[in-house]
Structure formats: C-alpha cells, structure tokens
Amino acid sequence: MANGSLLTHLLRGEKYPAGGGCLCLAGDCPHCLATVDGIAYVRTCQTPYHEGVSVEPHPESGRLPPPVSLGDRAPVPARSIHCDVVVIGQGPAGRGAADEARDAGQHVVTLESRLGQDAIGIYPGPLVVARTNSGMWHLYPREGIVVATGASEIQPVVPGNDLRGLVTARAAAELTSTGIDLGRVIAVGTPPADVVATTVAGELVRFEPRSGDPRRVGAVVMRDAKGQEQRHECDTVSLGLGLTPRDALLRMARGTNIRGVGDVLLAPDLPPCPSTGVVCPCAGVTVDDLRSVHGRGFRELDLVKRATLAGTGPCQGAVCVPHIRSFLGAQGSDPPASFTARPVTRQLTLGEAAAGAHHAATPRTALDSQHRALGAQMERLGGWWRPWHYGDVDAEYTAVRNGASICDVSTLGKMQISGPDAVALLEHLYPVPIASLAPGRSRYVLLLDERGYVVDDGMVSRDSETRFTLTFTSGGARFAEAWVRDWAESLDCDVRIMNQTMSLGAINVTGPRARDLLALAGVDSPPAFLHHAVATVAGVSARIFRLSFTGEMSFELHHAADDSTDLWQRLLDLGAGLGVRPHGLEALMKLRLEMGHIIVGQDTDFDSTPRRLNHEWAVRLDKPSFVGRAAVVRTNKVSLDRQLCMLEAEGEAPAEGATIWAGDDYAGYVTSSGWSPALGRSVMLGWLRVQPGINAGSAGLPTMVTIDGRPAHRVTTRSFDPEGLRARA
C-alpha cells in the first residue's frame, strides 16, 4: 500500500482502532476493526490510508455499532472479466503461479488483499467474486483458479490476550519494517524476522498489564520446563504460535481446475489445548464456556459453535477454530475438521454485493405515451405497465356497454405456430378438438398441465391448414412459450414457433357500436363471431379477431407494434362522433365480471382443475389424448370439493379477498368483486366449498352465503345477457 494501511497510520499515532488483542495485520483477526468512512466492521489493516479518512473506534465490551447508512453513495461499479487463470493471493507462491501461467501465454488476473482486492467467494461456474477498492469484479476464468491465500497465524488463548501490544510474529516484522518502534520485544514461539527481540522459551501462561496503563501489556509470563513461572517485562510481545491454512476458498470451490499453492496447503498446526482465557474474541467465548457446553453434550465442532456462537463473528472462526479443535481433540476425539467453508470469506457491504444488479424492468406497450397523454393511471399487472383507468371509470364502462370503446390489449401473449405438425402439437396441448377448427375460425381454450390444473387460457385461431395464431394471458405468456416449445421438442414436432408478443400490438374495439367504428375505419364486413380475417383498418394492416371478453361485440386488432400509435389515434379520431373513448383495466374487470369471465391467476388457484373452475365445457374428454387428460379423468371419479362460482349481492361490492361464510362454516373467498351498473348490484367470482348436508342437486354448493356480514347468493347462470347475445350481435 502506497500510503501504508490505515492501521499502521493509527499505530504510528499510538491510536488503536479497537480495544486490544493480538494484531495479525493480515486480515484474519477481529482486533483492528473500526468504523471507517461510515462503514462499520472494516479491517483497518487491509484498508489503505487516505487523507481525510474518518475513523471511529469499534465499540467495546459487547456494544454494537448502529445499523445505519450515511447519506448517498455512488453506486458501486461491477466489472465482468473473462480470463484464463485467476490467482488469488500474491505472496511468493501466488506470484510464482501467476508468472508460470503468464509464461505459458495465459491471460492471468491476480488478486491481492493487501492491494484492496478481496476474493469473497468461489461460486459454481466457476466464478470468482472480488471486492476491490474500485468496485466489484466478477471473474470468469476459462482455465483455472489458483488459491494462494497462505496461512494465518495462531492467536494466543491465555488470560490477558485482549491487551494492547500483542502482535503475531509476522505482524511484528511488518510493523518494524514500516518504521514503527515496538520497544522491548519479547518473542514467544517462532521469533519475528529482522526484529530485535528476546526469545523466551516455555509454555505461555498469561499476559500482564503495564502498571499505569492497564490496557497495555507490561509483561508476559511463561512456565519453564521445571514448572516455574517466569515473568518477562516488555513493551510488545511477538507471538509465533504456528500456522493455519487460510483455505476456505479452496474448500468451498467445486471443479477440477482449482488448486492451491504454497502455505494454503499446509497441515494446520494444533496449538496446545487452551486452559483459560477468551477463545473467541468476536463472540466473547471463554475456555470455561467450551468446557461448560462440552460437559452438557455439545461434543462436535458444529454443535460447540452453535451452542457458544464461537466462530460466528466477523473473523468467522479464524481465531477460535484452531483452539476449539485442540480442545475437542484433548477430550478424546480426533481433532475435527473445520466448519463448512461458505461465502463470503471477506466482508463486503450489501451495496457492494448488489453491484451490477438492477430492477427487472416492467415492460410498457407501444401505446404507453398515449395512455399517459390521456391521463391514465398506470399500474403493474401481469408483468406489464397498463392503464388502470383514464380518470372516469364509469364513463369508460358506459362507453363499452352503450357505445364503442378501445382498449390496449397488446400485453396478451401472442404466438404463431406453423408447420406440418402444427395440428398434432396443438391437439396434444389443448383439451378441445383442433383438427376440426376451420381456417378463419377461433375458439377459447384452456391450457392444462399434466396434473389437470389450468395454467393459462386464451384463444386458438386457425389461419390456414398449417398455421395457427395462439393467444395467452399477459402474465402467462412467458411460461406458455416455454411450455409449447418443450412439448414441441418432446413430441419431435415439425413446427415453427414464433413469439409475437412484443412484435404485435393489439387493440380491442368493443361495444354495441364497434362495427360502426370499424366501418368508419374502412372495414365494411368484419368477421363474424369467433371468426377472424386480415383487413386494413384505418390504413393499418391488421388481423381482426371477433371474440368477446367484455360481453359486447368485440374486434381484437392484431397489428405490427410500429403501427400501434397510428391505429390508436385514428380510431379515437374517427370515433369522436360515436363518443369513442379508451377504457382501462378497472372498467374491463367490471365488464368481464358481469359476464362471469375468469382471469387465470386472479380467479384461479394453483390446483384449479377445469371442474373446479366450472369450465368442464372447455374440456372434451372424447378426445383420446391431450396433456392433463388422465388427471382429469382420474379426478372426475371423486366428488367435487370446491368450485369457482358467480355470486351476487345487494349493495356495494365487498373487497376482493373477502371471506365467504355459509352459516357458521367457512365457505370460501371472493377472488373478483365489483359493482355492476347494468344490474344495480354487486357481482363476484369466488371459491365455494362443497358443504356437508347440502343436497346433491346443487352439487353440495351453498346457495345463500354471507360476505362482510351481508347476504349474497350464488348464481348458476349470469344475470347479465345470459345467452351472450350482445357479443354475437
């Protein structure tokens, strides 16, 4: 680090970021944590010093930093980097591995935590994710990963190990090399390189504070071979107690081209079994705690961890695990392996973790700006932004029922299927006859899965002998495409499947005067009910589908999405004299509810059979085979348990989701609800359960129910236009 680490900067000024403890300067221990520039739990030994840095000491004695975010920060950039080899760690072994790969002509990316490049995990892929001071790196190595993360030094577990002035042997060497005067240094274990120190032998017993500065070490006490305690006064204690491989990345990685080099492959040194003192400084776990839980049956490493929380803090076991292994080993078992290695091996903020992510965009139709210009309130529905209303739901409703109106239905799933096997594929997918559907005709279809559950609905229209246009619900289109392609592949069908959801716009022209509007748009003989034809509408080429969801005569105009704005505006202009206005979803919901038309997703549940939806009419069991047939046949053999029903009530509409009661018994809940201007009462769709003790004539479904404390009744035939004459007009 050019300016040195933040920690060395602090130590030069005799300042400590945290309480005390044996500093490792290698990013392993939790003793140099501080709140740096507003972010808590930052290891100051791994953070480059910069002018004006703000450092708050980490809270001591069990207190915790507040969970806060300071002001706005620039989004963290993310880079995806493709290379041949990633080498993690740039000590001697890592440098050697990187040089070797470069000599072999490979593109190598190296990571070094001292340069602020922390690998946080090796994920399946393999993908190496690194947090760097210049943003997140997502590294995709083609050839391999070399883990050269080295080894961490074992920390002392004896009384006084939270004093200041304790450093590992490597840290002592590094501090000395940066010009920090450690004073009188006593070396325990392996002495530090190039440091003037007095090496003392024996067993480490405790550290004693300095008189006059109870937080700082004044002496180290050793037990010699004769069992005598020897006290050594000092300013600093250097601790060379052994090494533990820093191998979490190596252990979490899967795959064959991942290897370790250097100290990361060392067999871990096992420190002596600790007898007293703090084992886990992060969670404040003592040797007595270990004894206590072990004596009560917590005998495995993981159980000890969970019972004490040792190893669950910021250092993730780097300090405590060697000692707990030693402790458990001394209780008679083989020293257990370490915890399962999991990401993240080095910490990062959520903001850093989120780098490169973005909100999945909710798509807008080609008519989005038209809707906004007309004052529409836009709403997310079925995965699209759609106009909820244009400010006057009643007028929108009335335009449909009494005049003519247009609606943007471009969000419908639209798919063209063609080829020699198109009929065979659709016969398999749909529970109604397809071969007998004449070119130019359309029909309503349910889409069933193998369990006989309704997963979508829509229309099938036959364009020619070998070409069909399918529609699906707005929210179901993506699933439907995968479903159709999957079956086409499974059945080895010779078909072409073209998803036209985005490329085609669709505008529904609906109302008793819809035909008049089409006439003004130059269409003199539009198709009859459940027919379709290609025509030029107000100068725009379109396929006109005659169907009905609103209950009124309706023409769905499918056209190139590029023409949507022209078509929309011309229909509004041409229809001005007819009072044509657009309607949004709120009016549409009401219109279709008066007709009892379901919306898959809103009115269906994820175990809705056609029978439960009262849609058995849309399934032809005389067809020998289609997806879901076996399940429908099987479930038809048992009695019905619940059904989606139409309901009506006097007065205002209950909230959607309201509970339905039959006497004191739960009967179901309302899935759709709205006030019907045409009927002067509320209409609903809702699930009703078959109730015991109700006569079989009504299939066991209650007739009179209570919703929101008010009476409502089930209707078997819709009250509004029961014959469907308006749609066929």
């Binding site: 972010i39 808590a40 739990y41 915790l64 930093p65 507040p66 969970p67 806060v68 975010s69 300071l70 995990g121 399946p124 993908l127 703090v278 969670a283 776990v285 003592t286 206590s292 009560r296 049956g297 917590f298 005998r299 993981d302 159980l303 969970r306 019972a307 004490t308 929380l309 803090g313 993730q316 999991r342 990401p343 993240v344 910490q347 990062l348 903020t349 959520l350 903001g351 973790a353 989120a354 780098a355 490169g356 992510a357 909100h359 709403e379 997310r380 529905l381 809103q602 549940d605 994820f606 175990d607 099987r634 479930t635 348990d641 909230a655 989701g657 309201a658 509970t659 739960y666 809940y669």
Partner: protein, 403 residues
C-alpha cells in the same frame, strides 16, 4: 460474558444402539425430535430412536430464518400454524429452556393492486380463523417500520401491507436442543452420525431401517427428513408429490438492535429481520430449478442484496458476513404432508417447504398423537398424503410467497 452461550441444555446421548425400537424416526431435525419429545411426554412412548446422519439440527432446522407466523391462506393451515404459534409461546415455560423467543410482528408488503388484494385476503382469512392479521395503510406501515423506503426506490412503491402482530422468532438451534434434551431425558435414543441406507421389509411391511450402524428394527418407522425425502421414499418404491429446491439466505455482522418487525415483500421476493444477536437476516424465495446441492449462489447474494436495499436503504452500508443454503421439500400444493404413506408401518412428515420451522411444535405434537393412537388427529387430517390421489389438494397461496 457472552449472553448467547447455551447454559441450560444437557444432552444425554445414548451409549449403545438397541436392536429395535417401538418407533424409529429418521431425521434429527426439529420435526423428528419434536415428534420424539411429544411421544415421550404426552404418550409415555419412550422406546424411540431418532436417527440423524449429521448432527442434530444440521439440516434445515439449523439453516432456516426462524420466523414463526400463522398468516396462511386456507382455514386448515391457519388453524394448524396458529396452534403451532401458540405452542411456541408456551415452549420456554414447558421445557424450562431459553429459546430466545420474541414476538416481533410481521409486515407483508404489497406493491401493486394485485398485491393489495392478496394481503387483504390474507388479513381476512387469518382473522376469521383466530390468527389476527390486519390490512394496514402506508401511514401505519411507516409507524411500524420507519426505515422502509415507501417509494421502493421509486420503482416499487408501497401500497399497503398485512400486519400480523403475533409474528415471532426463536433461536432455531435452541428449539432443536430443547426437544432433543426433553426426549432423551425420558429415554429416547438420538443417534447422530448414523445414516439410513435402506429399509428392512417383511413383504410390504416396513420393519426397520438399515443404517451405517447396522440394522435397527422399528415397530413403526417415521420419515422426518428434510431435503432428501424423495430419495428416502424411493428406497421403498414410494413416490411423493415433492420436489426439492434450494432456499438461500445471508446475514450481516451484528448491529445494535434497531429493527423491530419482520418485513416481507412478495413483489420484491425478499424478507428481512434482525436477530436477537443483532445480525440483519435477509432471505428470498426458493430457487426455481429443483436441486439437492447446498452451494451458495452469487446471483442470489447480488439480487437479494439489491432488492433488500430497495426496501430498506439503511442496509446498503451494512456488511455481509455469511451466506448459506438449505434444501426445501416443496409439495405441489404448497401444503405439508403428514401421516400414513400406504406402505404399512411407514409414516411421513414432509412437504415442509419453506415453512417447516414455524410448524415444529404442532407438527411434532400431531405426529406423536397419530403414532400413539393410530388415528389421524383432525388438525392434520387435511394434510394426508392421500389427498393427492383423492383430488383434495390444499393449494395455499399464503405459503407460496416468501418464507
């Protein structure tokens, strides 16, 4: 020094394996141990073995996000989970153990009209069946959780929420240990590091299990495994309507307590709470593709961090400590499966999806009652396996969202 060290539980492991037991329970997680505990405490049945391939609570019981709630979508589920929630409230007193149980309240946020409809429905049916949940407006939401960005970063504005005041949490491990201790104290054998490799059969009947510690006879065998139940069931040729999916989560470092409730959003597919230790705990929905693996994914970490910041901006500068993965047995109707299997002497408690932890007390109690009496108690009768063959599925939108 550390208030979180377990200082009460005393686990008395058996020193031998008996050749046979009246009941052999496969799986030493919450459900298996609770079943053993209630067999011993409620029915005096103590010649029971719990067979665990790892250590107790090493599966989903030790990996879940410890949320206790009863705000489900169908009456049968609300009743069951409400009973479980109430049992949790009494469990510290009953076992004399500190389970770190805390009532926190749960906000389930809606970001669209469709979401509002769903949360209203949830509030209605929960309240109707004794699990109070109310629909709350944005002002109330802000009062309950002032840290929420009500605009959802300008992209996912908050429309409303259902609020379930009884939403709670408890320390998952301690629940497992309290049940294990209570069961073992009364003579139940819990065998850790013992893997079931097959079943002992006499014709159709299951008569015990083959294990890495040798054959163990069982008058009844109960599968309480999580994650690999289909693999286990296939050993007796039993197919279950279950798929196994990964569920991931992550925690931050520990921070001062400042976040009271549990906050969930179906729209953003994320939920957040603060643990008793002070970690912020963030989870998501199950991964779509079925998998048995425990690998943690980077795309999960990235998108879940991103979405949780959109909801709770203060999370941005907190530091992620650890991420992990559990594997969930999802039934096709998102409801659990408890009871007889059609294979004589083999029972199952599974389909615990992402909602197993909250069901541990009631699931264990009811399975024990079924085992002891041979009759399915009314509370769990709707969740029998035969419902799939009989077209009596229990689709529950209340459990199909997050956790």
């Amino acid at each position: 020094m550390n208030e979180f060290v377990e200082r009460l539980v005393d686990l008395r492991w058996p020193d031998h394996v008996r050749p046979s037991y009246d009941v052999v329970i496969i799986g030493g997680g919450g459900h298996g141990l609770a079943t053993a505990y209630y067999l011993a405490t409620r029915h005096g049945i103590t010649n029971v073995a719990v067979i665990e391939k790892g250590y107790i609570g090493s599966g989903n019981s030790g990996r879940n996000t410890t949320i206790i709630r009863a705000n489900y979508g169908i009456p049968e589920a609300v009743r069951f989970y409400q009973h479980s929630l109430e049992m949790y409230g009494q469990l510290e007193q009953e076992t004399g153990r500190d389970l770190m149980h805390a009532t926190k309240g749960l906000l389930w946020i809606a970001h669209s009209e469709a979401g509002v409809r769903q949360e209203r429905a949830r509030a209605e049916i929960n309240t109707a069946f004794g699990s109070r949940t109310e629909y709350v407006d944005v002002k109330t939401i802000s009062e309950i959780c002032p840290q929420l960005d009500m605009t959802g970063q300008g992209v996912w504005p908050i429309y409303g929420a259902s609020y379930h005041p009884a939403g709670a949490s408890a320390r998952h491990d301690r629940v497992v240990w309290a049940y294990a201790e209570g069961a073992m104290r009364l003579g139940v054998h819990v065998h850790q590091r013992t893997t079931v490799t097959g079943f002992l059969r006499d014709g159709d009947r299951v008569t015990g299990v083959q294990t890495t510690a040798g054959p163990i006879g069982g008058g009844l065998v109960v599968s309480a495994v999580g994650g690999h139940v289909t693999t286990l069931a296939s050993m007796v040729g039993l197919r279950l309507p279950i798929r196994t999916h990964q569920l991931q989560a992550f925690v931050t470092n520990r921070y001062a307590q400042a976040f009271g409730p549990i906050v969930a959003s179906s729209g953003l597919g994320v939920y957040v709470s603060q643990t008793a230790k002070g970690e912020m705990l963030v989870g998501a929905e199950v991964d779509r593709a079925p998998a048995y693996a425990y690998d943690s994914g980077h795309s999960f970490l990235r998108s879940c961090a991103f979405r949780s910041i959109a909801l709770l901006p203060f999370l941005r500068d907190l530091r992620v400590l650890r991420q992990w993965t559990g594997v969930c047995d999802m039934s096709t109707d998102y409801s659990p499966v408890m009871g007889f299997t059609g294979v004589p002497n083999l029972l199952v408690t599974t389909g615990w999806g992402t909602w197993g932890f909250k069901a541990i007390p009631a699931g264990g109690e009811q399975m024990a009652a079924l085992i002891a009496t041979g009759r399915t108690p009314p509370l769990i009768a709707p969740f029998a396996l035969e419902r799939f063959a009989n077209d009596r599925t229990m689709a529950d939108r209340g459990s199909a969202g997050t956790h």
